[in-house]
Symmetry: C2
Subunit: 438 residues, 2 copies
């Protein structure tokens, strides 16, 4: 297809991004950068190290382990010219597991890793759901200790606090698939090979009418009576814990979480399973307490055999992924979104074209002193430049005229207070500092 | 395909990333983050605002405007389930142009934008060439002024200086396609419709034997004599400028660049065309002066009608893209690569399991004071923990024993000097500060 043909068929290409993806113009990007920058600093304070990996992975990686939904219809896949079947990553955990397995001999386990990556799923776009989203993944690899769960929850609280969330703004629901296994096998009497199919019913528990859930349970092979007992148990909330064998509960990290310093924020909820197939014990989700935003914000859990796709060495993992779409909804709901940053703090305005080089030199000195500084690219009247500078959010204008230049002086204008004064060229930095801190 | 079938055919999936892509484990990521973080801060000092856009774009965007190589064999393309033909972006400029065109009425032109994105090209991997790379794009949209060229060059110098490069480490070659047009049409007598085909010969000028270049020129329709005159002109370097009509040279931004404050770093080179089809006048490339790294580091230019794909409004642009692969080669060649950052500065070590919560509380206070601090997740002997801490690059261990705990005291150990002392719990932050700054 040539340019000419396109022009004939469709004079202009659409300026909207591909459906379900987003453009981040500077204002939106500034908000995203501030929010994620805050989260990254928080994670680094906890000793988490950032990593990154390729966007494209062998399609088998997802077909083998991710939940069925992702592996099937939701995957963006392609075949390269060498015949390799590839997929655009729908999530990061399999890539992390691949790297961990491949470098296990060089790493000092346990390791704390985080990343911030874009993931793609072919979904119908709706509130909280896009085809491309950015997510922070936080994981510990190489430890079975319940201290991992305690730390991961501490990190969750610290991350949300770093964004300004109060302890009233969210809650954490926790469950443990090994407890559910025991509930189903030991208490309800569900046969072992029917336990996992029941999980998929639990995953739909809150969203579907009772009749549908019952029908699904009967189809799996549960009796009406077993379904009734399951209903009663799930309604008991943390009452479930007292129904289970003590040694099963003791082995679970849930006990540590319910006794931890943030126990007021954590509830045991036996219905939480998290759809993804690879979780093996602890699962949790963080949800907004504001009824205006009735969604799980993010969640995670333990996946103790994910590296088994790549090596014989068993390397347990636990972590969570926090996506930008739901996170921004949460911050918006609670009025916690930061304001976009202005492009520059200072503009240096030469009064005639011959002073451009001087303006650039002065701007360079202000940048070296730490101020975001611009010089106009096009000739405009001073009044027009001052107006544009104020509109763009700049706080200071430094004006250079030929007469002042001869005396090595500058005019410094406070754009927010509409006051201006003359200073010696060497004092420009100090004058800017005074205005910015006033 | 099910998990079982994969397991039977291939017990483990490969741990290597897809050919031509890279894993960034924490050490490599730390280097990348430090290098790009420095560049981002430098750009923000100049008032450039970060933006981002979708990975997937309509395939037509690249087919219509990019150089033929990219649009053809090098594009990773796919068709979504809705039948839309998509491509993984091979470069960012078309996306930026789409956004600029779509938001032209809201933007205060000229705008200074930058991004840091991964781009994909299906190439044979080799030194300096990968299938996925990360690039910083720096652009000014909405101004024809030669001040843009001056600023873009100033930014190039500032970015390289921010990474520690000296003025001896690189040079900039600049050309202007409008000067080439004039050279070919007015001096060599090449017919207007043969000027662009000659550019593709110039693009291969340094890499191919004379006989091949001559053959290509003859095929286009140049005479042997015209080819000889072209050869002579190109060999003249900036002597070309004196062959051209004065008004053509005056309209070019090249004159400003060759007279600017960094003129010692800039040479006019009439052979530079930059392969990409969309450049319209100024083109430049930055190259390493070290013969060990004989490649163009990066380059860019002016593309005054790129938004014409998306709208009737003409919005000129100028900019460049700096890729991580060639940049890291450059920094490595000149011993300018930063060292990876350690995951934590401080480890807090409880001497028995009952002190875990105290250790976490003290770690929390040290984090609040600004120190990257970890608490071990698994029980180990003190000696083993101290060794692991030192290996991981931590500088301080804070040790909590039950007896000290009762006296509200801690042992603080300087891991680099193997010295330790006891402090009151409230003085832990000050003790850590002393050790880190010693």
């Amino acid at each position: 297809m040539t340019t000419t043909q396109i022009a004939a068929r469709q004079p202009y290409l659409p300026t909207a991004p591909y459906r379900g993806t987003r453009d981040f113009l500077p204002d939106e990007m500034s908000v995203r950068e501030q929010v994620f920058g805050t989260l990254h600093r928080c994670l680094e304070q906890f000793g988490y190290q950032r990593y990154d990996g390729p966007l494209l992975e062998a399609a088998e990686v997802y077909e083998a382990k991710s939940g069925q939904e992702i592996a099937g219809q939701e995957l963006y896949s392609l075949v390269d010219r060498g015949g390799r079947r590839l997929a655009i990553r729908p999530e990061m955990t399999p890539s992390a597991a691949r790297m961990i397995a491949g470098h296990a001999s060089e790493l000092q386990f346990p390791v704390r890793w985080y990343c911030n990556v874009n993931c793609h799923r072919y979904e119908r776009p709706q509130r909280g759901r896009t085809r491309e989203h950015w997510q922070v993944n936080v994981d510990i690899f190489g430890s079975d200790s319940p201290h991992c769960e305690v730390e991961i929850f501490e990190v969750v609280h610290a991350m949300l606090a770093s964004l300004g969330a109060s302890r009233d703004d969210y809650r954490v629901r926790v469950n443990d698939r090994t407890l559910l296994d025991s509930l189903l096998a030991d208490v309800i009497g569900v046969h072992a090979d029917k336990v996992r199919p029941v999980f998929s019913i639990l995953d739909r528990w809150a969203k579907y009418p009772r009749a549908d859930l019952l029908a699904a349970a009967v189809e799996i092979g549960l009796s009406d009576r077993q379904f009734g007992r399951l209903e009663d148990a799930l309604a008991a909330g943390d009452g479930v814990l007292s129904m289970l064998p003590a040694e099963v509960v003791e082995r679970s990290a849930v006990a540590s979480l319910l006794a931890g310093p943030d126990r007021d924020l954590v509830t045991f909820n036996p219905v939480i399973v998290r759809g993804l197939a690879y979780y093996t014990s602890t699962v949790f989700e963080v949800y907004d307490t504001d009824p205006a935003n009735p969604r799980a914000l993010f969640g995670g859990g333990r996946y103790d055999d994910l590296t088994s796709l790549f090596s014989a060495q068993r390397i347990p993992g636990i972590g969570f992924a926090m996506g930008d779409v739901t996170l921004m909804d949460f911050l918006g709901t609670h009025a916690l979104l930061p304001s976009p940053e202005a492009s520059s703090q200072v503009v240096v305005l030469p009064l005639d074209a011959g002073l451009q080089a001087s303006a650039r030199a002065i701007a360079g000195r202000l940048r070296a002193a730490g101020y975001r500084t611009t010089v106009p690219l096009e000739p405009r009247k001073l009044g027009s430049e001052l107006k544009r500078a104020a509109q763009s959010g700049a706080a200071v204008a430094v004006i250079i005229g030929s007469q002042e230049r001869e005396r090595a002086e500058l005019t410094v204008r406070d754009l927010r207070r509409n006051a201006q004064f003359t200073v010696a060229e060497d004092d420009a930095g100090a004058a800017v500092a005074r205005i910015l801190s006033a």
